[in-house]
């Protein structure tokens, strides 16, 4: 465990050094990422405004959800995307061999090796707006709620990353799936809205079959004192089983790895 902890931070250090080699690139994307986050909030302000509601959620409540979305987006672009792009390319180009030879769990390296830092401010923007909106709304939040919301947020990260990993692992079967890494970002619009706006069959699918809708809704509802314990338990069990199956699928798919010729 100590080895993995050390490796995790070694990867972070190396990525930071890599980023500093190309500082122009870093500053450019830092500005783009921050502007994009600001635009996202502004977009919701335009749609909902100060007085209207969406599926029973007020503008401020949606901002809470949007803050969880923004923090998750920071992980999406800083961690999930670079690692999954690297993973799928390495299968196609045969460079996955370099990782598979190492005496370290291959899944660990695939999921943690890469990272970019220009989206890190997104996380703090989301967190700051979350706290300031909660203060503005005068919500009474207990430590238990904070811990539970953080826990569910981590489960959301595991759920999204597992989904992305299972899709990217399909590359072993098709060798080249150029746009596979655009599928999960495409689903982001589902959890950019409260899950409760989806009704009927769509609602059932998004909440139970593929519970993408719960990703930001559940931690937001905990903060808003609307927590639904059964949904939280369901989401937790679903994600754990899903993550386990994802790793099993990787272990099975790796037998299809053909590397490349010399």
């Amino acid at each position: 465990m100590k080895k993995y902890w050390k490796l995790f931070w070694t990867f972070r250090r190396i990525q930071l050094m890599k980023m500093m080699e190309y500082r122009g690139d870093f500053f450019f994307w830092l500005i783009v990422s921050t502007m994009w986050t600001a635009f996202n909030y502004f977009f919701y302000y335009l749609i909902i405004g100060n007085s209207k509601t969406i599926a029973g959620w007020t503008y401020d409540e949606v901002v809470i959800l949007l803050s969880f979305f923004t923090m998750l987006d920071a992980f999406t672009w800083s961690v999930f995307f670079p690692n999954m792009v690297n993973y799928t390319e390495s299968i196609y180009q045969g460079t996955l061999s370099n990782l598979l030879l190492l005496p370290v769990n291959s899944v660990f390296i695939i999921l943690t090796k890469e990272a970019t830092y220009h989206n890190v401010p997104r996380f703090f923007i989301g967190l700051t707006i979350l706290i300031s909106t909660a203060v503005k709304m005068q919500i009474q939040i207990s430590i238990y709620q904070i811990l539970l919301a953080s826990f569910v947020f981590i489960i959301s990260i595991i759920f999204i990353y597992s989904g992305w990993f299972i899709l990217a692992t399909l590359s072993f079967w098709a060798e080249k799936l150029t746009n596979i890494n655009e599928v999960m970002p495409g689903f982001r619009s589902i959890y950019q809205m409260p899950a409760r706006i989806y009704t009927g069959l769509t609602g059932f699918i998004i909440t139970f079959i593929v519970p993408l809708g719960l990703v930001t809704t559940l931690p937001s509802e905990i903060i808003l004192n609307r927590n639904n314990t059964s949904d939280i338990i369901y989401f937790f069990i679903f994600t754990m089983i899903f993550a386990y199956l994802t790793i099993q699928f990787f272990n099975y798919s790796i037998k299809k790895y053909s590397s490349v010729g010399n």
């Binding site: 050390k6 070694t10 190396i14 890599k18 190492l102 005496p103 790895y257 010399n262």
Partner: protein, 335 residues
């Protein structure tokens, strides 16, 4: 699994190893591409077909074969990168496919055409990462790095971005990265490819030293016969996935060479056609001639020449190993 052969521990054991790939064959042109959208024809390529061998501790074995013969595929299966279609492999008593940490800490695969170092950072950063990955103690790391960098003469370039290094410098750094954990088994796939002759020699000397010092078992593939001749007593020849020879490099000549080279220096001038009756005249100039004669009759022909002409000097030599191997791979009858 700690079996022995001639009182030596068997480090690598391969039994009836097979690796088949299903390869899609596309018809040429746009029409072929359109057809391939709904109907594709596949062909099974037998990259490795029923190969068996054993390698004992400390041996350096050369893998010889043409491009696509199955050398690299075999090495990849021995490294646990490819899942065999059939057959069994054991390296240091482990099944490579299990990819156990204890196994991975004891071997290294160096591919001359593949880069394992972080491209945008100095090589020293990749070495430090390997230190963490292989859990190398500080003291061992410092000592090994200092020793390897000195032998390979790269002390001055360790802090330069890898992408700015020359091919030779990069290859040396790749070797260091692969050896920092002192592997007991080393798979070297074309380690000298693209390097100049001086660098090739440096690497060969280094491999020899490493083998002697650490008693490492080494499998080497190379298209440069110089590498094989200098490093390997034993060679395994692979052609189209099949093992066609496994034995001493020197014995290849005894087994497969069909001719010998007869070099003559004559006292008086003779006609070229006078010599052609004895064999194929390879060169003929200023009373000096080189003949290619059937191996089994070389002595008899030499004696005939000595009887017929006044000869100042006569030499019977073996055909260079490169030529013999080229003949083997060009000769279909051998399979």
């Amino acid at each position: 699994m700690n079996s022995t052969k001639n009182n030596k521990k068997i480090t690598i054991k391969v039994s009836n190893l097979k690796k088949y790939f299903k390869v899609y064959k596309k018809e040429p042109g746009l029409l072929g591409s359109i057809k391939s959208l709904w109907k594709r024809s596949y062909e099974t390529v037998k990259a490795v077909d029923d190969v068996s061998f054993e390698i004992t501790e400390g041996e350096i074995v050369g893998f010889i074969g043409q491009n696509g013969a199955g050398k690299t595929t075999t090495l990849k299966m021995l490294s646990g990168l490819l899942y065999p279609t059939e057959g069994e492999t054991s390296v240091l008593g482990f099944n490579p496919w299990d990819r156990k940490t204890e196994f991975q800490k004891q071997f290294a695969l160096v591919m001359g055409q593949k880069n394992q170092l972080w491209w945008d950072l100095p090589a020293i950063e990749s070495f430090h990462l390997n230190k963490a990955i292989y859990e190398i103690p500080d003291k061992v790391f410092d000592e090994t790095l200092s020793k390897l960098s000195k032998i390979l003469d790269v002390e001055d370039i360790l802090r330069i971005q890898v992408r700015k290094l020359s091919l030779g410098q990069r290859m040396k750094c790749e070797i260091i990265a692969a050896l920092l954990h002192n592997p007991k088994v080393l798979f070297l796939d074309e380690p000298t490819i693209g390097l100049d002759v001086v660098m090739q020699k440096t690497l060969r000397d280094f491999i020899k030293t490493y083998n002697k010092e650490f008693g490492a078992t080494i499998i080497l593939t190379s298209h440069y016969m110089g590498d094989v001749k200098e490093l390997c007593e034993r060679v395994i020849m692979i052609d189209k996935g099949h093992k066609i020879y496994d034995g001493n490099l020197a014995d290849i000549i005894n087994k497969y060479a069909r001719n010998k080279i007869l070099s003559l220096t004559l006292e008086n001038s003779v006609l070229r056609k006078d010599l052609e009756q004895f064999g194929k005249v390879k060169s003929f100039k200023n009373n000096q001639a080189t003949l290619i004669v059937p191996r089994k009759e070389a002595t008899k022909i030499a004696s005939k020449i000595l009887n017929q002409f006044k000869v100042n000097d006569l030499n019977i030599e073996e055909v260079p190993i490169e030529v013999v191997i080229r003949e083997i791979f060009g000769d279909k009858k051998i399979h």
